[in-house]
């Protein structure tokens, strides 16, 4: 009985010591790598640069017609993709295009648990390469499709003076430092 008591006591001691020791080394570990505030929390999107021409993200952020898109990009935390060297072509739906989705869709997508789904929808609007209106018309003429960052092929068509991408109408084209923004009137769903 007494021995059992001793055993228990020793076991407790060891456990405590192990705890204190590993706790100690944890503290030291923490001390020797002093918590460093992340200097670039948004990756390349954190780079300050007011000299270069504006990139896709900066242009979008300055557009009154794209506040929903920008909020969605921020919620999906894919800002860094839009400032990447690319080159990228982004088909940028207007606020009206988002508003035309069934009620509650946008709010639902903006929920943290739907981050991956939202990111997938948004990157489905981006394609490697620089396709301005002339380039898109050429794609239509030559029967070539646009291959998106999510692996979809989008059809380009011309309707009179208008160019359509996957059925969405292109309302305007803006050249940016890392690619092209084509403003569209509809969300392209996977």
């Amino acid at each position: 009985m007494k021995s059992n008591y001793l055993l228990t006591l020793l076991s407790i001691l060891i456990v405590i010591m192990m705890g204190s020791c590993s706790q100690g080394s944890q503290q030291e570990g923490a001390a020797s790598s002093t918590p460093i505030p992340e200097s670039h929390p948004k990756g390349q999107a954190s780079v300050e640069d007011n000299v270069s021409e504006a990139n896709i993200l900066q242009v979008a952020a300055g557009s009154q017609a794209h506040t929903t898109l920008v909020a969605a990009v921020q919620a999906a935390e894919i800002e860094h993709v839009l400032v990447n060297a690319g080159p990228l072509t982004v088909f940028a739906p207007t606020n009206d295009a988002f508003a035309a989705l069934p009620e509650g869709t946008v709010d639902d997508l903006l929920k943290p648990e739907n981050k991956a789904k939202l990111a997938n929808i948004l990157t489905g609007h981006a394609a490697p390469g620089s396709f301005d209106l002339e380039a898109l018309k050429k794609e239509a003429r030559k029967g070539r499709k646009i291959y998106t960052a999510t692996g979809q092929y989008l059809e380009v068509s011309v309707d009179g003076d208008e160019v359509l991408i996957a059925g969405a109408r292109i309302l305007g084209t803006i050249q940016t430092s890392n690619g092209v923004i084509n403003v569209i009137d509809k969300i392209i769903l996977p």
Binding site: S3, N4, L6, L7, L10, S11, L13, I14, M17, M18, C21, G24, S25, E28, A31, S32, T34, I36, E38, S39, H40, V47, D49, V51, S52, E53, N55, N84, A85, G86, P87, P128, G129, S130, K138, S177, N178, G179
Partner: protein
């Protein structure tokens, strides 16, 4: 049963003890490292910037490297006096003129002593000047582009070692000559050196706006060896001081014959007096020929101007221009403290460090207390100008820098150490070993009126076992010391590129915001610029073909070219249309007998290709520019020289 329990108990006790033992020493070790705190003090966290820029000369690599302090990380190796295939420096048509000299195109140089421009004796961070020792030249590097923008050749000179230091307001940057040479050069017996060979000291005026240099005048000195130099600061502004050795004027086995005199001299030059003589016309105009190469940021091209004359002052005919102050035993370093009062000479072969006083020098000159003259130049009495002596601080003193607290730091080559001593009392405060045989040292601002006395970099001549070995040739070593306290502390050991002869340091905040990000395409005035893809073209003029090409992520325009023939000289004039920071493109053609081009946003560069055989020859982007970099390519069809295929060019078949 009981014994079993006891056994178990003893095992547990032993385990506990073992655990204690394992736990405690580890804790002690960590505490030691923490109290030492060394790693933390030179650690720059990921994504953070260094506190100082360092510009370290590459010596025999001819370049100037840019590092961060305290991390010791290398950011750029700026090509200055040697060709650099990576950056096409000296290879592309635009920068070839930078390396023109009166001897022709010289692809290599020996870069030595960088010095940052100053205003009112304080670093202003506009330019770095650096001298070339072998084919005497001085270069200016612009600290907005971090590129070499000017190189001027120094005539009548050889071994431009006592260079390229700047005065308090960058009025002048100076050059000196290590070798006495015939002036002008002529065919004569070498053993008639004495009295016939001359040593030229050159003063290059610096335009306060553009920074452009011109040789304002040269002073024709006796044929001693002029080793190092330092401008007067503050009250001694207007003077320049040079160490001399080989006052014996030996022309052979200098290691013996130039070490005979007990004392050599510090030459004190009154450059304000020189300006008066120039203004009075009291100079000789000498015919000569030297290259002045200037890189224009707007045309992205360098041009060479051949200068034909230089103005010479003869100290024997210009009283008050130059005085000699005796200094023991072949002095090397010549350093003036931030107040301008103390002139420190380090006799390589002397046991002591000798310090002269500016005030005493002026007083001796005013009282005309001379101890004879040499070639018409008055010699001052050693005792009359002596401020003090640091007695036996080490072996083989070389160079001295200063902090902002009245301390001096001298390197000792033979005893491999840095010694801290007090100005005025001459007492030694601290000494720390270097690894090994230190040459120069640098404290940011340490040769100006305003040193930033936080770090000291020692640059060593011998490395041996300091790093992982790399065969017979090993890197150069540098050590970083914290000098903010009474005692110096070694923080970091890092390798440097080439052999560092001196360095210059400056707080990063003084220049980093001015660093250029891109060149504006609309400001590009290159004669062969192509500002949009629709202007891309191929133009034949006899057997010369000019290709006007653009690059943007991720293609060249044009990317299919036909109508080029064997025997043509094909110039690729390539413009990077990007206007985005850090998006350079490169280009190279198979078999081109030159380097790649590495073209910054908004810039145009040109390479020459002389196709040797018929075929279809590819070119591609050599800098991983984008996600579609591997797609960035093109072809040139080369036909027989009698072919009648006309030049044509397309992109995407159009």
């Amino acid at each position: 049963m009981k014994s079993k329990i006891i056994n178990t108990t003893s095992i547990l006790v032993s385990l506990t003890l073992l655990f204690l033992a394992a736990c405690t020493p580890g804790g002690d070790k960590n505490a030691g490292a923490l109290s030492g705190n060394l790693a933390e003090r030179s650690f720059v966290a990921p994504g953070e910037h260094d506190e100082f820029y360092g510009f370290i000369s590459g010596g025999f690599n001819g370049q100037l490297s840019v590092i961060g302090l305290p991390s010791g990380r290398v950011f750029k190796n700026i090509p200055v006096f040697s060709v650099d295939a990576e950056k096409a420096y000296g290879f592309n048509e635009e920068t070839k003129p930078m390396l023109n000299t009166s001897f022709g195109f010289v692809p290599w140089g020996d870069s030595h002593h960088p010095d940052i421009s100053q205003t009112n004796g304080v670093l202003d961070g506009r330019w770095v000047f650096i001298n070339e020792n072998n084919t005497p030249r001085i270069a200016r590097i612009d600290l907005t582009t971090f590129e070499t923008t000017e190189i001027i050749e120094i005539p009548n000179s050889a071994g431009n070692h006592s260079s390229s230091y700047v005065t308090d307001n960058t009025e002048y940057v100076i050059a000196g000559t290590r070798f006495g040479v015939p002036v002008p050069q002529r065919d004569m017996p070498i053993d008639e050196y004495k009295g016939n060979f001359k040593g030229m000291l050159s003063f290059l005026k610096v335009d306060p706006e553009s920074g452009e240099m011109n040789i304002e005048f040269q002073i024709k000195m006796p044929g001693f060896d002029y080793d190092k130099a330092h401008p007067g600061r503050g009250k001694s502004h207007g003077w320049f001081f040079y160490t001399t050795y080989n006052t014996e004027e030996a022309n052979t086995l200098l290691e013996v014959n130039a070490s005979q005199n007990d004392k050599d001299f510090i030459a004190a030059v009154n450059w304000k007096k020189a300006e008066e003589y120039i203004a009075q016309g009291n100079f000789e105009t000498m015919k000569t020929n030297y290259a002045h190469n200037v890189y224009d940021e707007r045309t992205h091209s360098a041009t060479t101007t051949w200068e034909k004359e230089v103005r010479i002052l003869d100290p024997a005919k210009c009283p008050g221009l130059v005085y000699f102050m005796p200094m023991p035993k072949s002095p090397h370093g010549c350093d003036v403290d931030p107040t301008g009062e103390y002139i420190v000479g380090s006799g390589k072969l002397s046991a002591n460090v000798t310090v002269h006083s500016f005030d005493k020098m002026i007083s001796a000159i005013e009282n005309e207390k001379f101890d004879g003259e040499a070639y018409g130049i008055p010699i001052l009495n050693f005792e009359d100008v002596l401020a003090g002596v640091v007695v036996q601080p080490g072996l083989g003193p070389l160079h001295t820098e200063f902090d902002d607290k009245g301390n001096a730091y001298t390197t000792f080559f033979i005893s491999s150490e840095v010694v801290k001593w007090k100005l005025g009392t001459w007492e030694v405060i601290d000494r720390k070993p270097t690894y090994y045989s230190v040459g120069h040292l640098m404290i940011p601002g340490g040769n100006s009126q305003k040193p930033f006395g936080k770090y000291l970099v020692a640059m060593n001549k011998i490395t041996k076992d300091r790093y992982l070995p790399t065969g017979p040739e090993v890197t150069q070593s540098a050590q970083l010391y914290d000098i903010s306290g009474e005692k110096m502390e070694l923080l970091l050991d890092f390798p440097t590129l080439g052999e560092p002869h001196y360095a210059a340091g400056i707080p990063a905040d003084l220049i980093k915001a001015k660093s250029r990000k891109i060149y504006k395409l609309e400001e590009n005035e290159h004669p062969y610029v192509t500002k949009s893809e629709k202007d891309a073209k191929v133009v034949r003029d006899g057997n010369i073909v000019h290709i006007y090409m653009t690059m943007i992520r991720s293609h060249f325009a044009p990317d299919n070219i036909e109508g080029v023939k064997v025997g043509d000289k094909v110039y690729f004039h390539v413009t990077n249309l990007e206007q985005d920071y850090d998006v350079p493109h490169g280009v190279s053609m198979i078999g081109a007998n030159t380097s790649e081009l590495l073209i910054m946003p908004g810039q145009t560069e040109t390479f020459l290709w002389e196709p040797k055989g018929v075929g279809v020859w590819p070119y591609y982007c050599t800098d991983f520019c984008s996600a579609l970099h591997q797609e960035m390519q093109g072809y040139v069809r080369v036909s027989d020289k009698n072919s009648d295929i006309q030049p044509s060019w397309t992109l995407d078949g159009e």
